[in-house]
Each structure stands twice: as C-alpha cells, then as structure tokens.
C-alpha cells in the first residue's frame, strides 16, 4: 500500500551530513583556516560584517567558511547569531574626521589638505588575470611612510566653511535602531541610513546606478571617500564619561550633489552619505546615491523614480529577508495547491458546460501564490 511520503527526519539528517561532506570537499586539499579567510578574503569578510550588522572578523570568517562562500548565507548566519546578543546601548557617534587614514580620495579637488592617499585599491589596475597568483607567491613588503601629522578634514567640511554645501546639524535625542523597533514610514534619516548600511550591496548598486541613468537623476560628485580605523567610544553612566571600546575599520563616502535653494536661501550643494564596515567602497558610494535620492521629497524635487520611493527601497533592501521569502517557495504548499486545484477543476467543469452551451468567456484566472 502506498503511504504518503513526507520529509522524514532521517532524510534531513543525511542531507545535512552530505552538506558537511561537500563543504569539506576533497580531503587531500588542505582545509581553510579562519585566519586565511580573514586575511586573504578580507573584502568578503568586510561585506559579511557590514550586511550582517556585526563587527567581528573571526565570526564573519567562520560564517563564510560554514556557508561555503555563499555571502548571503554567511550574512544570514551572522545575523542569526547577532539575535542572541543582548544590546547594552548605542556608542557615541564615531568621529571620521579623526580616522587613521589608509585611503582618502576626492574627485572634486585635485589637491587638498592631507592630499590624495590612494591606499590599497583595485582602481587603475589592469584587470588581467595574474597567472603568477595561481602558485604560492612571494610578495615583497609594500613601501610605507610614517603617518602624516596632517588632519584630514572632510571635503564637505571644507565646502561648508563657505556655506557652499547644506549644513548637517547634529540631531538630539535617541538614535533609532530598526533591529529593535520595527520600521514604519516615513522613516527618519537615521533609520534610512541604518537600513541602507545593512542593505544588499547589489540591490543598492542597481538603484544607485538607476539614478545615474536618469531615473531620479541628481548629478553627484564623489566629494570624498575615506577608509581607515576609527575609535568607538561608549558613554558609561557609572563613571560619567565616554570610555574607548576599540577600533573599527570604516569606509565613508560623502557625495556632493547639485543645488538646492529658495527665495530665502542661497543656492548650495546637497549631500548624500554612505558608511560601511571595512573597505566597502562600492557599497558606500551606492548607499550615498540612494540616500540622496530618498531625500527628493524633502528637497522639493520631482519624485516618482524607484530609488526615490522610500517604502519600496527600504522594504526590499534586506537580502536576508529577500532570500528567505524567495526561497520559501521550496517549502511544501500541498494544502493551498490542493485548494487551487479544487477550484480550477470546478471552473473547468463549468467552462466545459458553458462551452457546450456556446457561452465561452476568455477572461484569464488570476491569483497570487503565497
């Protein structure tokens, strides 16, 4: 007698054992260490920390190893781990002006205080496969110089000195956290930026790109991109002052966009802002473009492009949410499908009856699957 086959605990256990087996792969090949991933796949670690919203290089490396290099799966692992951590407060705002600069470039000034610091970058490399890298390589140490004493004032601060760019006033009060309070619309800029910082790099890249191609056009200049380490401080109630917690690497992008002004206000540049863990230039640039696009209404611009639609952008930027819901279509839907099947058969039977009576309707049947 045929018995309805459903899942089965042993089948699942075997599938997971098989996953562990293929994850390890050929046992003759040395196993990856977390230090190898952290050091040699560092930009992947940066992305997983950023979109996983958890600054821990070792855990991010572990997630990448466990996820077999599937970045969204690794981000998901880190997020699920983050859930188990209690939150004890928000840090003081980090001061990116005091960053230990590893890279700082501006596309708006040929030279500026502190200078252009190229740092480690793919820019200007020829994208030719380097076959020498296929073998273990001997890499001589890179040339270094002692850190400049120059303070790297932000380009936007330099512009702000002469009121050429809109003022960015510090906001009082609690900073929002969408991982602790559900997002509602319209969202404040703090929550918008948090959402974008956690958002999928590919999604933001496409949206930012769409604004450059004319869907919500707003001509941007990369005023400045900087990458380096900043100190994180936490205000401790007990001692009454801010105590340092440690250093994090950050990339910050300040986009300078075209003018706003009014009868009562002189024309000035506007800002778009991007900030991410690690060296994440593509992400912060895309984020800055989308941040600026989302300010269209506030700045009295024409709206209607996808990147300007706050609810559309913020509701679909999270790749952990997106992948979960797309992939849930793999779960069984027998029950709903049976219900649809029942109705479809009934409709077809009635159609056949009507056809017999020459009363054919050509309206299509539509319904949304869940």
């Amino acid at each position: 007698m045929y018995v309805a086959v459903k899942g089965g605990e042993r089948a699942i256990e075997n599938a997971h054992a098989l996953l562990a087996d293929v994850r390890r792969g050929d046992r003759a090949v040395p196993e990856l260490s977390l230090a190898q991933i952290d050091n040699q796949l560092a930009l992947g670690v940066d992305r997983v920390m950023c979109e996983g919203s958890l600054y821990d290089r070792e855990l991010a490396a572990l997630a990448i190893k466990q996820a077999r290099g599937d970045m969204i799966e690794a981000i998901f692992l880190l997020r699920a781990y983050r859930t188990t951590l209690p939150r004890f407060g928000a840090s003081e705002p980090v001061e990116t002006a005091d960053m230990n600069i590893r890279r700082r470039i501006s596309a708006t000034f040929k030279d500026l205080p502190g200078g252009q610091v190229l740092g480690p970058t793919f820019d200007y490399t020829h994208r030719l496969l380097d076959h020498a890298l296929a073998q273990a390589s001997e890499v001589p140490p890179a040339a270094t110089a002692s850190a400049s004493e120059a303070t790297f004032r932000s380009v936007t601060d330099l512009l702000a000195d002469s009121s050429l760019i809109e003022a960015e006033d510090a906001q009082d009060g609690e900073v929002g956290d969408l991982t602790r309070e559900p997002l509602s619309f319209p969202a404040g800029r703090d929550l918008r930026l948090q959402n974008l910082a956690r958002g999928d790099e590919g999604f933001l890249l496409a949206l930012g790109y769409s604004t450059q191609r004319g869907f919500g056009r707003n001509h941007p200049f990369a005023g400045e991109i900087r990458y380096g380490e900043v100190e994180v401080e936490f205000f401790a109630e007990d001692v009454g002052f801010a105590v340092p917690l440690g250093m994090v690497s950050l990339t910050e992008c300040q986009m300078v966009n075209q003018f706003a002004g009014s009868g009562t206000q002189a024309p000035h540049f506007t800002r778009g802002y991007g900030l991410a863990f690690g060296q994440s230039e593509r992400k912060t640039m895309a984020m800055a473009l989308v941040d600026r696009a989302l300010r269209a209404r506030e700045l009295g611009e024409e709206t209607g492009a996808p990147a300007q639609d706050e609810e559309f952008v913020l509701s679909h930027s999270d790749n952990v949410q997106a992948t979960g819901f797309v992939e849930h279509l793999k779960l069984p839907h027998y029950v709903d499908f049976q219900a649809e099947l029942g109705l479809l058969r009934q409709l077809r039977a009635e159609f056949a009856e009507r056809a017999a009576d020459n009363q054919i309707s050509d309206t299509p049947l539509q319904d949304a699957a869940e």
Binding site: Y2, T84, T179, E181, S315, G324, F325, H328, V335, E370
Partner: protein, 293 residues
C-alpha cells in the same frame, strides 16, 4: 573562540518581553496587526520565523509542543522547527493534538477541536489581507484605521463577476469581532470556520513583515461573503483512503506516473488516531464506519 551558550528557547529575556508585550496588545485588539521588532532567527524569513518567535516567547519548561506543516508532523519544516525547540528549550514534543499545550502550524488548523488549555501559533507569510489590493503599508494601515474595506468587497465581487465564484481558496479573508479584516494565513478556506468561537488562543506571527496579531478565545470570526454568494468551505468530494474520514481536509497524492491518485487526510495525527480507533479505508461504495457499540 568559545561556543555560545543560548538562553532558554534561543531568544534573550529582553526580546521575549518585547514580543509578549506585542502579543498582549494583539489579544486586546483582536485582528489588529501589532508591529514588533522581529529578530533574525537561525531559519530563513518565510520559513516560520514569526511563529518561532511567538512560540519561543510563550513557551515554558512544562509545555508540550506540537509542530505541523501542511497538517503533518513529519514534513521537513515541521521536523526542523520541532528539533530547534527540542535543542534550545528542551521541552517535550508530541504529535498528538490532544496532548499538546502549544501547537505551531503552517497552513492548517488541526481537525481535532482545540481546548482552552491550548495555544495555536500560526506562521504567517503576508499578514496584510489588503496587500494584493494595495501594495503600500502606509495606505493599508490607514484603510484599517478607518475600517475602509470596500476595496476587499469589490475584489470579491469582481471574482464573482468574472468566475461566478469567489476565487480565493486559501488565506481567505475574515472579519474578527466585527472590526478588523484579517488574513488567517494561507490555511485552506475549509479551515476558516474553525477560527470562530475557538476555545484556544490563536496567535499569528509574521517575522519578515514584523507583525503579530491574535484571535482571543471564543471570538466571533466571519469569512467575508455576500448574502447571495455565501461563504462555502471546499473539500475534495472523497473519503480518506487510509482512515475513511469523510469530514477531514484531504491531500491528493499521485501514486504512479499513469495519473492514479488517492486522497488521504492532510492532518496526519487525526488520521493515525482514527486508524488506531479501528477506522479503516472505505470499501468502495460502502460506509466506512466501523462496528462500534
């Protein structure tokens, strides 16, 4: 690095309190979708994270948990969620509807009537019944606030005009306590009558969409319809070929590649219990009731 030690039922107590506050609010306003700060869980969004968070927040060490998907305890996702709570909470699990104190479900309501000592936790993919009519949350929240449900009735009417029937077969919208229109999650409309006047507390968790809502015990729940097109639950016109039940929701199972099929209860516990009581497959063209005194 040291292996992390997880709290009882995975979530920390602070998070559980936040979810319980949302649940209490949901019970106080039947059918209203309460926003809550949904967390990332170690299973994907869309695979029951809302239900899992609700269950984790109400579960105590003495509870007995049952998890079903498509009515069955043995579907992959139900197995996975049951194992999750066995591992993180160490609670006793069961497949018996009668024995369970908390039942987490996807897409079905058990056939066996529930009691006042039980809580039914639904996994919800899209909590907003108006979502497919109006994509914007800002709009739909306003529509709920004003009880502006005309659009839903127009949709149902258009179904009738087009097909002669309301073409919604699952996730069939209901009105709770004469106020809020609610999505009962994608249960087949066969299950809708069980929502109403149910002795058990019914909680609905939508993780990705960050919403919790509830039907308190003994609350009137009405499936939307029209006087001349009354709501009608659907059931395949057949008996279960394992236990002979003529009143349960049936799964259609294809048994070979020549199109042969059989119908079996979707609720596996109901089916097994009936078989243990002596009910059996119906003889063709005869009554399946076993001889009982």
């Amino acid at each position: 690095m040291s292996a992390p030690v997880y709290n009882f039922a995975y979530l920390d107590e602070q998070t559980k309190r936040m979810i319980r506050r949302a649940i209490l609010k949901a019970i106080a306003i039947p059918g209203y979708q309460v926003p809550f700060a949904s967390r990332e869980m170690p299973m994907p969004y869309g695979w029951g994270t809302g239900g899992v968070q609700v269950t984790a927040s109400i579960l105590g060490p003495e509870d007995v948990l049952k998890v079903i998907d498509q009515g069955s305890d043995d579907t992959t996702n139900a197995v996975s969620i049951r194992k999750f709570f066995t591992k993180t909470a160490g609670v006793r699990t069961t497949t018996s509807t009668l024995e369970a104190t908390v039942i987490q479900t996807r897409h079905r309501i058990p056939e066996t009537p529930l009691s006042e000592t039980q809580v039914l936790v639904y996994q919800v993919p899209i909590p907003e019944p108006l979502r497919f009519l109006e994509p914007r949350e800002t709009e739909t929240r306003r529509m709920h606030a004003l009880s502006e449900y005309g659009l839903m009735h127009v949709k149902l009417y258009e179904d009738i005009a087009r097909h002669g029937h309301i073409a919604t077969t699952y996730a069939y919208p209901v009105k709770v306590d004469e106020r809020y229109v609610m999505d009962p999650s994608p249960i087949p409309k066969f299950d809708n009558p069980k929502l109403s006047d149910c002795p058990a507390l019914q909680l609905f968790g939508a993780g990705r969409e960050k919403r919790i809502y509830a039907i308190p015990p003994y609350t009137r729940v009405v499936s939307l319809d029209f006087e001349d097109h009354p709501f009608q639950p659907y059931r395949h016109d057949a008996q279960c070929e394992l236990c002979g039940a003529a009143d349960s929701y049936l799964d259609e199972v294809i048994t070979d590649d020549r199109g042969s099929r059989m119908f079996v209860c979707s609720d596996t516990d109901y089916c097994e219990t009936r078989r243990a009581m002596g009910y059996a497959a119906p003889a063709r063209n005869s009554d399946a009731e076993p001889a009982r005194d």
